[in-house]
């Protein structure tokens, strides 16, 4: 790991950033409200490509990732992220619905740390984040 990445990680301890990737503005806003209330700085992206560009500018501490999005879906983004930054990159929590349970395994395989079911509320989201040491 390069020293510059370390520096960034140290900084992000002070103000951890979460990248919320979802094509729905409503979902992004819900997540933003919850995470900001718990001391996160939130950046938003509306699709995988947008998210990837964000990461290339500044790597977030974690990513809350939707699955089914236009332009670039969550899986492609996740694969690209891991390919570029290796397994120690940002922690990825991906969002799914009961219809997409089959994709859970695939996501974990591709390097997601956790999954969360939509719709989520404050308790569910913070609970999940606490579980994997993000809060």
């Amino acid at each position: 790991m390069s020293s510059s990445l370390l520096e960034k990680e140290t900084l992000s301890v002070v103000a951890p950033t979460c990248l919320v990737v979802d094509d729905s503005r409503v979902v992004r806003k819900v997540a933003r409200r919850i995470l900001e209330a718990h001391g996160y700085q939130v950046v938003e992206a509306e699709n995988g490509l947008d998210a990837l560009n964000h990461c290339r500018r500044e790597l977030p501490r974690c990513v809350l990732l939707d699955w089914n999005m236009p332009v670039m879906n969550g899986l492609t983004f996740l694969k690209a992220l891991r390919a570029e930054y290796g397994p120690t990159g940002p922690t990825v929590v991906f969002c799914t619905t009961e219809n997409e349970i089959a994709q859970m395994a695939e996501a974990i395989e591709c390097g997601a740390q956790e999954y969360i079911m939509k719709p989520f509320d404050e308790a569910i989201l913070t609970g999940k984040f606490a579980q994997i040491g993000l809060l």
Binding site: D23, S24, V26, V27, V30, N68, T97, N99, K118, P119
Partner: protein, 866 residues
């Protein structure tokens, strides 16, 4: 509404519009995996988001639709027409629920069991297999075919096929770089730019008088920059016309299956841009026109084949810019308008006499379809032919300052052409002067400017004013142009009218007003200016000849003339009785009144008192009277007003009486009473929900006006008292017998408003709250006797129309004059009212018109009786 919910609604509305389109594309190319993924994702997103906002009903519908689409995406089910229809049904339900949420903020109640069962059923059993597309012809049709049809059909098909291939597919263009902006931000920008344009104009005006100024060059630059900025900001308000068209493919598809027709919709010039505000307003008229073309314009496949046309009818929508306007055409390749049917219909509806019809051109006859309530559809379908349609389209387009026209060729089809200004905010206008005042005439209706000589001129080649049937006309390039003096039209002053009787040299603006061309005589013509349209204040809004006002370069505030209002005024004045376009004119009263919105005058009766309201319609004038002009005769304050002593009243004794006292003048038949108030606060125009208070005389009730609870005072009550005090004689009509009126009105508010008004005018009034109660009075052992009956039209139970019909059937009240009061004021309602037996149809709140109508009919009735 919660911010999240608003976001959701915006987002969902966008997806839904795109979904309709995507599904229809999918139907054409059923296996397009890209389209399938798009459709699936959009439904999926709607469902996923619902959960965050707890919208269980919406979520359930979206969920089941998503399941079905998931199977299609996975190749388990084919995306054929039957399946698409079911999914479209689900989308319609989603739209319904969403519009419910938009209206109330809550999910509307409703039962989706049927729909859900249908969706699940489709999923388990799969859609019925698609029937093989085939053209079936029965022998009768074949026999009807003229010889050579088959050959020509074959040739047409050969011709059509390569063309179809050559049609460029709508490319899924890269989404342009966009940002989301609050509309209000743009609106504010527009207002600021408007102000900037005005200031620029003022500066330029000043600079024009200075010949050698060092400001000239920078001012020139400022002027150019302002123009560029204006153009740029106007552009931000522009959207592609597609926004008004995107619902049409779906509508046409539904119509085609409902009507059993085959219809192709071709859209050309989708990217043509126009002002968003105009776009919103043009959407419904366009839908109406396309429905009309599908229903009336296009023939059924069998008839089409029989006349040698392809079974598929085509509706072509096209749009382009032309001279500051956007032109939208709706063309069908149907049978064309049947002028014979239109003639017969116009005759039957009394729109024209057979003599008039005989002299009309085909085109004039065709324009009858824009007449209110006109319909030639021999069969009334659920789609159109219900007697509303093209007249509404025409009214709406004219309201935008646009025009609509049509071209029809028998056997080849009909084309409607709509022209509307690109934007409503800044227009180009010709500044003219009449009667010492300047007016702005929108450039769009100015055809040319000519100078005409009076009848005395002998000059060779000069344009001379002639007279036809007493109407001055101008012979311009072999066309007779009726002349109307703008001064007369605006009733500006008598002297001016005298001058125009024998004009010596006239400046004539050849103007196209609402479908007729005429010469508008003005005193002087100035420049053409880009003017910023400001809305007319509510107090002047009923004057239909003005569409707004503007500020000129020299700072003067002038009125903008409304071409359509002028055209109606011309019609009313009867100035061009021989030339006027009748079908246009029958609409005269159509848009005169706004309906159930009412204008309220807010006044303060005493210093520091809360404002109270009264209907503006009751107030004849508002004056400011100097304190020294107020005299006292036996404690009663009076003032000299228009050559008479007018009693003045105050409702609150603590009135401060400053140097000038605002006075509301209430007038009736030459008598006036003034109500002194502390301050005129405002005029508000709103839909009012009035809570009644009956306990306090003189108070009608309370309503929330401009955000605060306001008392509505019963001016009539107080004035009646004032009148009785002052005019000690009974202020009744001139005959000794007091006339007795029956008022049938379900709204207590209007009853309380009408009774004092009518009593103050000297009538004896009985009021009931339903038609049934009125009939009970008639059918009593000794029937009540009335001289006139005033009835509301919209009432629960028996409405005014039924009531009128019953009265006219016979019985003791059969011959009593019957006056309708209605909040709805369109030609169809008026005609219905007339047919039901009303002799007058008046808008609510129009006190003057009601009293005038009563006088007219009671006098007439009396004469007949005598």
């Amino acid at each position: 509404m919660d911010e999240l919910l608003i976001d959701f609604l915006t987002e969902t509305a966008e997806s839904l519009a795109a979904l309709d389109d995507a599904l229809l594309q999918l139907e054409r190319v059923p296996d397009d995996p890209e389209m399938l993924a798009v459709v699936f994702r959009m439904v999926h997103t709607i469902k996923g988001t619902c959960g965050f906002l707890s919208l269980p009903r919406l979520e359930r519908v979206a969920h089941v639709a998503e399941d079905l689409l998931g199977d299609v995406r996975d190749g388990k089910l084919p995306a054929n027409a039957a399946l698409i229809t079911v999914v479209l049904g689900a989308l319609d339900r989603i739209k319904l629920i969403v519009s419910g949420i938009v209206a109330t903020g809550l999910e509307p109640d409703g039962d989706d069991t049927d729909l859900l069962a249908e969706l699940r059923d489709m999923r388990t059993r799969g859609p019925a297999p698609e029937p093989e597309p085939a053209i079936t012809l029965d022998f009768d049709t074949l026999e009807m075919l003229p010889p050579g049809t088959i050959e020509s059909l074959a040739a047409q098909i050969a011709e059509a096929v390569p063309m179809a291939e050559a049609t460029p597919e709508a490319a899924h263009g890269q989404p342009a770089q966009t940002i989301r902006l609050d509309v209000n931000v743009l609106e504010n920008l527009m207002i600021l730019v408007s102000e900037l344009v005005l200031t620029r104009n003022q500066l330029m005006q000043i600079a024009r008088t200075e010949t050698d100024s060092r400001f000239t060059a920078p001012l020139q630059r400022l002027s150019h920059l302002t123009s560029d900025l204006q153009e740029g900001v106007v552009k931000t308000r522009m959207s592609p016309i597609l926004g008004a068209w995107n619902k049409l493919p779906r509508i046409v598809r539904d119509l085609a299956s409902e009507l059993g027709k085959q219809i192709d919709l071709v859209m050309l010039g989708k990217e043509t841009e126009l002002d968003r505000q105009v776009l919103e307003l043009i959407r419904d008229p366009l839908i109406h026109m396309v429905r009309n073309s599908a229903d009336h314009g296009l023939e059924s496949p069998a008839v089409r084949l029989a006349s040698g046309k392809p079974a598929h009818g085509t509706i072509t929508l096209s749009s382009f810019h032309e001279g500051g306007q956007i032109v939208i055409e709706v063309a069908d390749d149907g049978a064309g308008l049947s002028t014979e049917r239109i003639r017969a219909r116009a005759l039957a509806q009394g729109l024209a006499s057979s003599a008039e019809l005989a002299t009309m051109t085909e085109r004039q006859v065709q324009r009858f379809i824009f007449a209110p309530g006109f319909s030639t559809a021999s069969a009334v379908t659920s789609v159109s032919g219900r007697g509303v349609g093209m007249d509404v389209v025409k009214t709406n387009i004219e309201r935008l300052g646009g025009t609509v026209d049509l071209r029809s060729v028998a056997g080849r089809g009909t084309t409607f052409t709509v022209k509307i200004p690109l934007t409503l905010a800044i227009i180009s206008a010709l500044i003219v002067e009449a009667g010492g005042q300047r007016f702005a005439l929108p450039q769009i209706c100015v055809a040319e400017l000519v100078r005409a000589e009076g009848s005395g001129s002998l000059e060779e080649g000069a344009l001379v004013v002639e007279r036809v049937d007493g109407t001055p006309v101008l012979r311009l390039r072999d066309q007779l142009l009726p002349l109307v003096n703008l001064r007369d039209l605006l009733q500006m002053d008598a002297q001016a009218a005298m001058n125009s009787a024998d004009p010596t040299a006239l400046t004539v603006v050849v103007a196209t007003l609402g479908g007729t061309t005429l010469g508008l005589v003005v005193d002087q013509v100035f420049d053409t200016e880009e003017i910023v349209v400001k809305p007319v204040s509510p107090m002047l809004r009923h004057i239909k000849v003005f569409s707004g006002n503007t500020i000129l370069g020299d700072g003067a505030v002038i009125m903008i003339l409304d071409p359509n209002g002028l055209s109606r005024a011309v019609g009313h004045a009867g100035l061009t009785a021989t030339v006027k376009d009748r079908p246009v004119d029958t609409q005269a009263a159509a848009t005169e009144r706004t309906g159930d919105r009412s204008a309220m005058l807010l006044v303060r009766l005493a210093p520091d008192a809360s404002p109270v309201a009264m209907p503006l319609g009751l107030v004849a004038r508002i004056e400011s009277i100097a304190r020294e002009d107020i005299e006292f005769t036996s404690d009663q304050p009076v003032t000299q007003y228009r050559g008479q002593l007018m009693p003045l009243m105050a409702l609150d004794s603590s009135l401060a009486m400053a140097d000038h006292v605002p006075v509301l003048v209430f007038a009736d038949r030459g008598r006036s009473v003034g109500l002194m108030v502390e301050e005129i606060v405002d005029v508000v125009e709103d839909q009012l929900f009035i809570e009644l208070v009956s306990s306090r005389p003189g108070l009608l009730g309370t309503a929330v006006i401009a955000g605060r609870v306001t008392e509505i005072i019963d001016a009539g009550h107080w004035l009646k008292q004032g009148w009785e005090d002052w005019f000690s004689d009974n202020p009744g009509p001139r005959n000794a017998k007091q006339l007795h009126l029956l008022v049938v009105e379900d709204s207590a508010f209007f009853r309380q408003l009408l009774i004092p008004t009518l009593s103050a005018a000297g009538y004896h009034v009985t009021a009931v709250d339903s038609a049934m109660k009125a009939l009970a009075l008639r059918d009593a052992a000794v029937p009540a006797e009335f001289d006139a009956i005033i009835s509301d039209v919209e009432m629960p139970g028996m409405d005014g129309l039924q009531f009128a019909r019953l009265l006219k059937e016979g019985g003791p009240w059969m011959d009593i004059p019957l006056i309708a009061l209605s909040g709805r004021f369109n030609p169809i309602d008026i005609r219905r009212g007339g047919a039901a037996g009303f002799c007058e149809y008046l808008g609510k709140f129009d006190r003057e018109a009601l009293l005038a109508a009563l006088r007219r009919h009671l006098d007439q009735h009396e004469r007949q009786a005598a």
